[in-house]
């Protein structure tokens, strides 16, 4: 079991999966870094995005790698509207209330999907789903490679946005010092909504990258989001590099523990890491303030 021929592909596959985890976590950490709340609706949005990608394929005939250019802006808008018109006003600015509101939205979205589409698992069939590329020592699936590369592309785009655009600067200002930013004339509600929209867009992109090889049902987002929480806490709340590295790390851990412990117990490995990190070093590896 410890032979390199098995270990190395497991690790590499872990990295590929981890990249998509990282993308989901990126959205979460972005939202936390600016709004200082944990978006409990993140998983439900991933499920919704997966359904959207599914129907884009089935009804509009759009390949996921094409649909992403439609879904990302749509989900950006949905996230913006959700924060601006529901979460923000409902919470009255109280963090504890925001927790509950995002939880409520998570429940609504997930169960609306359940009600509308039942619990059946769906998949799509794309020609490249099972294509692999031969790297000599191992074969790697094309969709996962595309996913891996795309994630870094998105991370780069986000970094450019944050560093060089006005909106990026405004977001960073609000993240650092909300009151000061407000006094400087920044519309904080707008920025909050923009950030939430960006986080949701990340989720939509992740869904499109996942769907060629993953299944779709109303609860799949939950499984992802708990992993995303683990990654965000591990990498440090609000830290983008943390989310990336944490994601890759967790992907590898999951792959390896799945190898040694089997599917279900492998999941426990992640949660135990999660709990351990929260208890021992809640600020994570690249920690921001807790």
């Amino acid at each position: 079991m410890l032979s390199p021929a098995i270990l190395i592909p497991a690790i590499i596959n872990g990295l590929l999966t981890g990249a998509v985890y990282a993308l989901v976590s990126l959205g979460l950490t972005l939202i936390y870094g600016v709004l200082h709340i944990i978006n409990f609706a993140h998983g439900a949005m991933l499920s919704a995005a997966l359904f959207a990608a599914f129907f884009a394929f089935r009804l509009l005939g759009l390949d996921p790698y094409v649909a992403v250019f439609l879904l990302a802006p749509v989900f950006f808008g949905l996230g913006y509207a959700l924060q601006r018109f529901v979460i923000g006003p409902a919470s009255h600015g109280d963090d504890r209330n925001m927790l509950l509101v995002t939880l409520g939205i998570a429940v609504i979205i997930e169960n609306a999907l359940l009600y509308a589409f039942r619990a059946d698992t769906r998949t799509i069939e794309v020609p490249y789903a099972y294509q692999t590329i031969d790297f000599g020592f191992t074969f790697l699936a094309v969709p996962r490679l595309v996913g891996f590369v795309s994630v870094f592309g998105v991370a780069l785009a986000l970094w450019l946005l944050m560093s060089f655009t006005d909106i990026g600067r405004a977001i960073r200002a609000v993240a650092k010092e909300k009151l000061g930013a407000e006094l400087a004339g920044i519309d904080v509600a707008h920025i909050y909504a923009m950030t939430f929209g960006l986080g949701t867009a990340c989720v939509a992109i992740a869904a499109c990258l996942l769907i060629p090889t993953y299944y779709v049902n109303p609860t799949v987002g939950n499984a992802f989001v708990l992993v995303a929480f683990t990654i965000v806490v591990l990498g440090g709340m609000g830290s983008v590099p943390g989310a990336l590295i944490g994601g890759l790390l967790i992907g590898v851990v999951e792959s390896l523990s799945g190898l040694f412990l089997g599917e279900s117990l492998g999941q426990i490995g992640i949660f135990l890491i999660f709990i351990a990190v929260l208890l021992v070093r809640p600020t994570g590896l690249f920690g921001a303030r807790a």
Binding site: D95, L100, Y115, I268, L278, L279
Partner: protein, 325 residues
């Protein structure tokens, strides 16, 4: 003792219901409502009075249920000590999670996350461990004797759960009027200020967690007695975690009767939705989610908060009227 009078009145009124109503459907509805009210009262102690929002209270519900069931099914323990053991183990679990989380100073979002994670871990373990029956769950043997805490008549179950709920109401009231309760509420309002006034916040939160876990575990113990079946999804799933927090928030977090009022509303709306739109999966939870958001948005102190607010406004108007009249 005067403080307990309202509780006695409400409990006696509720106790009379089976004497007036014969319908099993109604009784079943009320039994489930009271059970959820009990689980919610547990959450209320920690979340309503203490301000620590747990998103994984299913961990205690499920533990109470499984301990009670496993002791009876696999070890032949009698139902009554089994029930007590379920509560004790649930409380102990609360203590463990409390020590781990509060010692690390976890608050707010982090606390919600960690409790969610604990519930998930337990769910996964329960879904594969042989002792819980893994995916299949644990089935209790039908044994309709009072000694086995199983009753022929639904009314008997109703009075049992009512007794438990009554106990939880009394506990909440006693806490409210005790030093522990004052300190707990102070920690909720402003933990640093409370510490500066001599409150050992970690101890107080831990105490609340243990009591909270015990009460919710009792609801779990009752569940297996009534339904005679438990599996990992029911025991540790998100549904019970959500119901446990929803009922106090809707009814009025940090009040004695909040969870009871909230449970009635939640169950009524759930049943109402089923009547209107049919028994489709996920429907009642959609309703719950909407109520949660609406309550936070428009009535953050719950229904009791609304009533209190209205009463205060009326009394102010009356005082003004008396002054001018």
């Amino acid at each position: 003792m005067r403080a307990l009078a309202p509780i006695a009145a409400v409990v006696m009124a509720l106790a009379a219901v089976p004497l007036l109503v014969n319908s099993n459907v109604v009784l079943n509805f009320l039994v489930v409502t009271l059970m959820i009210a009990l689980a919610g009262q547990g959450w209320n102690i920690l979340g309503g009075y203490g301000g620590q929002y747990s998103f994984g209270h299913a961990a205690f519900f499920g533990t109470g249920a499984y301990v009670n069931a496993i002791l009876q099914v696999r070890y032949g323990v009698n139902a009554w000590p089994g029930f007590a053991a379920g509560i004790a183990v649930g409380a102990a679990l609360g203590g463990i999670i409390g020590v781990l989380t509060f010692r690390s100073g976890l608050r707010g979002s982090y606390f919600a996350l960690v409790t969610l994670a604990f519930a998930e871990v337990l769910r996964i373990v329960a879904s594969v461990a042989p002792i819980t029956g893994a995916g299949v769950g644990t089935l209790m043997k039908l044994d309709l004797r009072a000694q086995a805490m199983q009753f022929q008549s639904r009314a008997a179950f109703y009075w049992l759960i009512l007794a438990l709920v009554a106990a939880s109401l009394v506990i909440a009231r006693l806490i409210e009027r005790s030093r522990f309760g004052v300190w707990l509420i102070a920690v909720r309002e402003n933990e640093d200020a409370a510490k500066a006034l001599g409150v050992n916040a970690a101890h107080v939160k831990l105490g609340a967690m243990v009591v909270s876990a015990a009460i919710t575990a009792a609801a779990g113990c009752f569940y297996v007695q009534y339904f005679l079946f438990i599996d990992s999804g029911i025991a540790y799933g998100t549904r019970i975690s959500i119901e446990a927090l929803l009922t106090p928030i809707i009814g009025g977090a940090g009040t004695v009767f909040g969870p009871l009022v909230g449970a009635l509303v939640v169950q009524a709306l759930g049943e109402g939705a089923k009547l209107v739109a049919g028994d489709a999966p996920g429907l009642s939870l959609i309703v719950y989610g909407c109520i949660l958001v609406l309550v936070i948005a428009f009535a953050p102190h719950g229904l009791i908060g609304l009533i209190d607010g209205a009463r205060r406004r009326l009394s102010r108007v009356a005082k003004l009227g008396a002054a001018h009249g």
